[in-house]
Symmetry: C2
Subunit: 286 residues, 2 copies
């Protein structure tokens, strides 16, 4: 059964979620995410619970429960000078952190070092912290898809989705992008996002990121599709967060804001018979 069939749609239906990752990362990310949700055609986002600006974004989520808000489960911190770590005490999850108590920069370090029991404890603690704060998350997904760095972690991730009855981002391309054999990860009864689209660095470098997004919209195929973006402003704060990291850096994130708040780009949805869908709807139907 295809994902479209599971949702009760005809097989030629082009469904799309336009999803802002990394809410809570910084004030710039929060402002830009909110701007893109309110003034653009982004229709879902997820929050990083361990991050410094979680609280601000969580207040927004409580104020706007009608807008899809997921938990962006976080096990890595890729930035050079801006650091965060587990919501649990480091002494409870020592295998998840570096010598300063911060998350590892790379999935590979996580894969090599992290103990699966500690991964489960920390991910559960992030969900529970969000729930305790009064959030009603619509879905879970994973920062840098780092849950895909180890089969054990991925099983934990899927099980947490089941346990908390939260739709869970499962997608073959993301798994393969992080080096995982997707066949080992996906069961027939999993709800799978058919196609996920994320900008790649070479598009950004060549000034072609907007063209990439246009190409995605114009060539979208039938199925349940997902575009992952990272709206933030190219301001001093975000330059500081992403210093020496142009890949998903502040200039990239500004392009995401500009593209997905542009009315002409929004019109491409209609022109290409694309229907936006939310995780809330998916949750309700499933």
């Amino acid at each position: 059964m295809t994902s479209l069939e599971k949702l009760g749609y005809a097989k030629d239906k082009k469904l799309l979620i336009i999803h802002a990752d990394d809410a809570g990362l910084s004030h710039s990310e929060n402002r830009a995410t909110i701007h893109s949700l309110k003034n653009g055609f982004v229709n879902s986002y997820s929050i990083m619970v361990p991050c410094p600006w979680f609280y601000e974004m969580a207040l927004f989520a409580k104020e706007y429960p009608q807008i899809d808000n997921g938990i962006h489960l976080t096990l890595t911190c890729e930035w050079e000078n801006y650091k965060f770590g587990p919501v649990l005490p480091v002494s409870e999850v020592p295998s998840l952190v570096d010598e300063n108590g911060h998350f590892f920069k790379k999935r590979e370090l996580l894969r090599k070092n992290a103990n699966p029991e500690e991964v489960e404890k920390e991910l559960r603690a992030q969900i529970e912290k969000a729930l305790k704060f009064g959030l009603r998350p619509t879905h879970i997904d994973s920062h840098m898809y780092s849950v895909g760095s180890h089969l054990d972690f991925f099983k934990i991730y899927k099980n947490l989705g089941k346990e908390f009855e939260l739709p869970t981002l499962i997608n073959r391309q993301l798994l393969e992008h992080v080096g995982m054999d997707s066949e080992k990860c996906i069961d027939a009864n999993d709800f799978v996002i058919d196609q996920t689209y994320v900008g790649e660095y070479h598009y950004f470098q060549q000034g072609k990121l907007a063209d990439f997004y246009t190409s995605v919209l114009e060539n979208l195929v039938a199925g349940v599709n997902l575009i992952l973006i990272h709206p933030a402003f190219d301001d001093n704060e975000m330059k500081g967060v992403t210093v020496n990291h142009p890949n998903f850096g502040s200039a990239w994130r500004q392009i995401d804001v500009d593209y997905f708040t542009n009315e002409q780009n929004k019109a491409k949805l209609k022109e290409n018979n694309i229907e936006l869908i939310t995780w809330q709807t998916i949750k309700r139907v499933l």
Copy 2:
């Protein structure tokens, strides 16, 4: 014996530390503090260990060990949407935090709720975290002078200074400002800052903050003096941190940057026979 005498200066000497509080609070605060140290006449600062941008500022402190850098011991978080809490697990210091695990906004809540043993554990942990990271702090002081909110806390603070052999900001006006009887807090052998100057809200409101600083410099009396400022840029990040909190808000902090990086204002030091002194020098002499 006066503080000047303890330092070996003549009794008519006007010594001054121009000190930036709150480094580590935000990227804006870090950038502005570094700018004011390098391009202005601020000559000392202290870092908030529990804050999101601690790491960035700590890297600066390690790169510039010749610049005075203290630990701004932190037990309160006064901001509305930007939250932080203890470096220790909340389960170890439950009396220091609110229902979300964040520091209290007000000294008064700290005074009422905090258990002195937990205050000691947390303050010690902040110092130890800084030392473990490789910092060589020149002094300790206290965010919002909240260690002055209870006599027990103040004794802990002074004892930590002795234990770690770190000069400790002790000052009558600050104690009285936070409602403490300074006579109970200060012993004859304490090294005391004679006069501390901090802007007050009514000056800011009336556009008179710069005039206040000028008045301090022009009327400084002999002794060991301290001006406490809070440099940050009035940018989007800092507006977010200080939202609904104009007292020590982003506009105020921009004035601090502007005043203490202005050459004409710097000239007032010479004009008024003021000699800058650092905590490093005080530590060496004592």
